[in-house]
């Protein structure tokens, strides 16, 4: 049985994380060790979920991959480059828990934003934006403003925007955390459909076990304090998956397996109901007080 952490021999992993540590400090004192000795390979076109209790560093890990923060030690290689290089080359799209859409732009203009920054011409931008909004089935809402849309729709716009410049990797940090269960399940289906159509490699952070199992090729279960990979579980549910897949025996077995690894790790997912600590702590430290 191959080591679920690493790529099948011969294939170069799209993302290689080795020996990553992350410690938050203030001055000389150590505040918290968010991540310890993280090793993971992600292959082309995989859908990887990260799940764990609050404080296990899953958001921090995603942010390290996305070069929004740097590891205290260890390396991250993306598409054969450093994370920073990959960010500058715009290899990733990112979707956060909050859609972060701009009120002053229409839905269509919001999706065009990264394309403007990339310097694409107007015709290309319009074409791409419309394609992406069709993909997330919001083609009728081009001229609306974000505040006129529901939460689920706003997240779909955020996904369309993240895919607009055709990144090879999509980083998603609890994108459906603020949605109700029904909408979330529907959005899961949407994401899978999009994933199948675009072939993007997706790294997905969640605190919902059913979501992780339903979506992923592999689930990385993490434990807290310090954040470590407890186990990487292969999800061998057949594809394409749909609502019926949620009612199969294998699905329940996998959900149970994930749950038991989590329980063994000592944390409970009740903690995960609050906003993930890593992301906001790090942001708070980075910004400091405005006097």
């Amino acid at each position: 049985m191959t080591d679920p952490h690493s790529a099948p021999s011969g294939a170069v992993p799209v993302v290689r994380i080795s020996g990553v540590d992350k410690t938050f400090t203030r001055g000389d004192s150590i505040l918290t060790k968010a991540l310890e000795a993280i090793d993971l390979d992600v292959n082309l076109g995989e859908f990887i979920s990260f799940i764990g209790p609050s404080g296990c560093g899953k958001s921090t890990l995603l942010r390290i991959v996305g070069d929004l923060t740097s590891p205290t030690s260890g390396t991250v290689t993306v598409n054969g480059k450093t994370a920073e290089r990959a960010r500058r080359d715009r290899d990733y799209g990112m979707v956060f828990q909050a859609p972060v859409l701009f009120d002053w732009r229409t839905v269509e203009d919001n999706v065009k934003l990264p394309l403007e920054i990339l310097g694409q011409d107007a015709a290309t931008r319009t074409k791409r934006a419309r394609e992406m909004l069709e993909l997330v089935e919001l083609g009728d809402f081009l001229k609306h403003h974000p505040y006129q849309l529901s939460g689920g729709m706003q997240q779909r716009v955020a996904i369309a925007r993240a895919l607009a410049f055709q990144p090879s990797i999509l980083l998603m940090d609890e994108p459906f955390g603020a949605l109700d269960e029904m909408t979330r399940e529907r959005m899961n289906g949407e994401v899978l459909r999009i994933w199948q159509q675009t072939g993007t490699t997706i790294l997905f952070v969640t605190h919902s076990i059913p979501e992780a199992v339903f979506l992923s090729s592999r689930v990385v279960v993490m434990s807290a304090r310090p954040g470590r990979i407890a186990k990487v579980i292969d999800i061998d549910l057949p594809r394409p998956r749909n609502e019926d897949s949620r009612e199969t025996r294998r699905y329940f077995e996998l959900v149970t397996e994930v749950r038991e690894v989590l329980r063994a790790g000592g944390g409970s997912l009740d903690d995960a109901a609050t906003v993930d600590a890593g992301g906001s702590l790090e942001r708070a430290l980075a910004e400091g007080p405005i006097g």
Partner: protein, 312 residues
């Protein structure tokens, strides 16, 4: 998911300041640095383009040699327009009037106290009226729609325009100044308190209804406490506004004891001694800042531990 708090939250800002010891220390250092910087620029300009420098506090003459002769002459930074900082300082120690036994500093202090009393009285009355009006408006939509447009529209009007009229009409006594200060205070307080009393999360209101609480209870226990941050934001504005109103109210009417009259007097004697006008201006500034800090202190004490309201 966000927890339900009693007040409707605003948009989260990045990096809100947390008052702590080092923050306050830093801010004091900041103000000191600012003062030093201003003095440096001030005297620096005079060194380059002012009138020739002589010993502080004395007049030109053969016994009073030039200490420094600036290379240029710029009218704006000569000794009339921009007196030396040390001469202003010395002016505080001069007698406030020829032959008087009190010096300028004592005189200004007394005047400031006088003005402050008028302003404070107006401040308290204005805050009271504002609170009452806001309470009425919050409980009666019709009255609110009837009167608030005028309250708001009057904020676009130069309220101080009414000042001289009141002063002349009431014959230049303290009451007129207090009226002006009241007038300037109750506008910001009314508007802020309407927002504050309404700032309750509707869910909290529904909760009280499920307890069959009376409107008075709701008012006392929920609305008032929720409105306090807004009240203090308005009071800080009103503090300065009431002082401004008092100074302006005193000016044209010629109430003899306040800072407004002092400004007027030293304005008239400007040619012979601009330093005294500067001293009076500094006194006004200090009065405003002191009153502001007093309200700020009250805010800190009353709102201990609560987050500040969104700026109104």
């Amino acid at each position: 998911m966000a927890t339900v708090t009693a007040t409707r939250g605003g948009r989260a800002a990045s990096g809100v300041a947390r008052p702590n010891a080092s923050g306050r220390g830093r801010r004091t250092v900041l103000w000191v640095l600012l003062a030093v910087g201003i003095v440096a620029v001030w005297e620096g300009l005079k060194a380059v383009g002012g009138t020739p420098w002589r010993t502080p506090g004395s007049l030109p003459g053969p016994n009073n040699p030039v200490l420094w002769n600036p290379p240029f002459r710029w009218p704006l930074v000569n000794d009339l327009n921009l007196p030396h900082v040390w001469n202003i300082w010395l002016a505080f120690l001069d007698p406030w009037q020829r032959g008087a036994d009190r010096n300028v500093a004592q005189f200004l202090f007394d005047a400031a106290l006088f003005t402050w009393r008028e302003a404070a009285l107006g401040f308290v009355c204005g805050a009271g009226i504002g609170l009452i009006l806001a309470t009425i408006f919050v409980h009666s939509r019709w009255l609110e729609r009837a009167f608030v447009p005028y309250v708001v529209a009057s904020q676009t009007v130069p309220i101080l325009a009414i000042g001289p009229m009141i002063t002349y009409a009431f014959g230049g006594n303290v009451a007129s100044v207090v009226i002006i200060a009241t007038y300037l205070t109750f506008f910001p307080v009314t508007i802020a308190m309407i927002r504050g009393l309404r700032s309750l999360d509707p869910r909290a209101l529904e909760l009280t209804r499920s307890y069959a609480a009376s409107p008075w209870d709701v008012y006392r226990k929920l609305r008032l406490p929720a409105s306090l941050p807004y009240l203090f934001t308005a009071l800080k504005i009103a503090a300065t506004a009431s002082i401004v109103g008092a100074i302006i109210g005193e000016g044209p009417g010629g109430i003899p004891n306040g800072l407004g009259r002092v400004l007027d007097t030293y304005n008239q004697y400007y040619i012979t001694g601009p330093e005294k006008l500067w001293a009076a201006i500094i006194a006004c500034g200090l009065l405003g800042v002191t009153f502001f800090l007093l309200v700020r202190l009250a805010e800190v004490l009353v709102l201990r531990g609560r987050p500040a309201a969104a700026d109104g």
